[in-house]
Amino acid sequence: MSLLPPLPAPLGLLAELTHRCPLACPYCSNPLDLERRSGELDTATWLRLFEEAAALGVLQLHLSGGEPAARSDLAALVRGASRAGLYTNLITSGIGLDAARLGALAEAGLEHVQLSVQHVRAAEADRIAGLSGAHAKKRVFAGEVGRAGLPLTINAVIHRANIDVVEEFVREAAALGARRIEVAHSQYYGWALKNRAALLPSAEQVAETRATVERLRVELQGTIVIDYVAPDYFGRFPKPCMNGWGRQSLNVTPSGRVLPCHAAETIPGLGFWSVRERPLREIWQESPAFNAFRGTGWMREPCASCPRREVDFGGCRCQALALTGDPRNADPVCMHSPARALITAALEEARRSHEQFAYRRYVPATTKAANPLTAAAEG
């Protein structure tokens, strides 16, 4: 190790506090095999992890899930993270957080709220989220964020069922007082991959969305910042996934396993270490999962000799695995990948598809259809 240049410290940590969620969005990036409540880390372990993350050099903490508000100790977690010096960002559905709870989070040091919105029309939004009344609650919540004085980002995951209302998404976000909106095309992992045929838009729709975003960026400059996440299936080169495996960020699952990205556990044979057993610094530097695809040494052709190998890092390992069966292959999105035909076929399949959503649910279903938030309150 001493002969290698020092490993850069990670900038961001995504804490998946829980997989419990009142919504059932078919594009969810959570794994199909959701973690149960009984397996979640306790408050003290999360707080220790936040201290270790700050000491390691992490600057921003993204509190996510599932729905992070399903954790009754959320304010304590925000307070601890804030004390550690981390910038605290809450990624939420807005369901289960009333004005009082939000006020407690702001008081505990919360710095930013990112709210997911599924559509601009309530009926459609509720259908996508799989929860009736969700959209109305989100609108109320957005107002509460403003009243609490917290900056708001609207996150709109874009797919075939809402790609026709991108402009309305942006205007509604501005009207709700958001400083930022993420117009983010669905990425096809977890539940989204399962629902790919029902979610993928057409190339024409994607081109139109891009043009709409460009136009609105000019018109609304200084009012709202529009971040656009392109859909990689339509590109010639893959996305630089996570800006490189194990380079800038890490994910912690509800039960404490530390991952280079949220989908990494789909790759068989990687050794994931847990914060229950080891300090975060050791995991970041030494865990086999982090070192498996760091740098360029793992690459095969066409990546190994590609001039873009340190631009896009071979794309996404999880996508290479999911679509080609081997995580060492080039991301099949790449025009140089011998498996690019798989992407073309998926786009063609989606064009002909009239598939229904498979909603994100705990599988196999238990006999009692427990609402995850109610379950939280009961506990």
Binding site: P8, A9, L11, G12, L56, G57, L59, Q60, G85, Y87, N89, E111, H112, Q114, G149, L150, P151, T153, R179, R180, E182, Q221, G222, I224, V225, D227
Partner: protein, 93 residues
């Protein structure tokens, strides 16, 4: 060209934006929603003066005198920085 910023504006960092020392990598960073921006020495000097009380004119005066640089040059640099941060909704003018 955009119009010059008002000399009486009282810039300040928007809520949810803060300047922080980056102990692991050295230097300073501006932390904002989903953003980490490296702040160079000039940016740090400007941002530290943006407290919502001082006017733009006062900030420029302080920096021109501290660094013994031509006032117009300082004014132009400060305006460029603040305009950029305002477009990103990180500074309120």
């Amino acid at each position: 060209m955009t119009a010059a910023l008002s000399e009486t504006a009282k810039p300040r960092l928007a809520r949810g934006v803060r300047l922080q020392q980056d102990k692991a990598r050295g230097g300073y960073v501006l932390l904002a929603p989903e953003r980490v921006l490296e702040a160079n020495g000039t940016a740090v000097a400007v941002i530290e003066l943006c407290d919502g009380e001082r006017t733009l004119a006062e900030i420029v005066d302080i920096l021109a005198s501290r660094f013994a640089v031509d006032r117009e040059r300082v004014a132009s640099e400060v305006e460029t920085l603040l305009r950029d941060l305002a477009t990103k909704r990180m500074v309120e003018l």
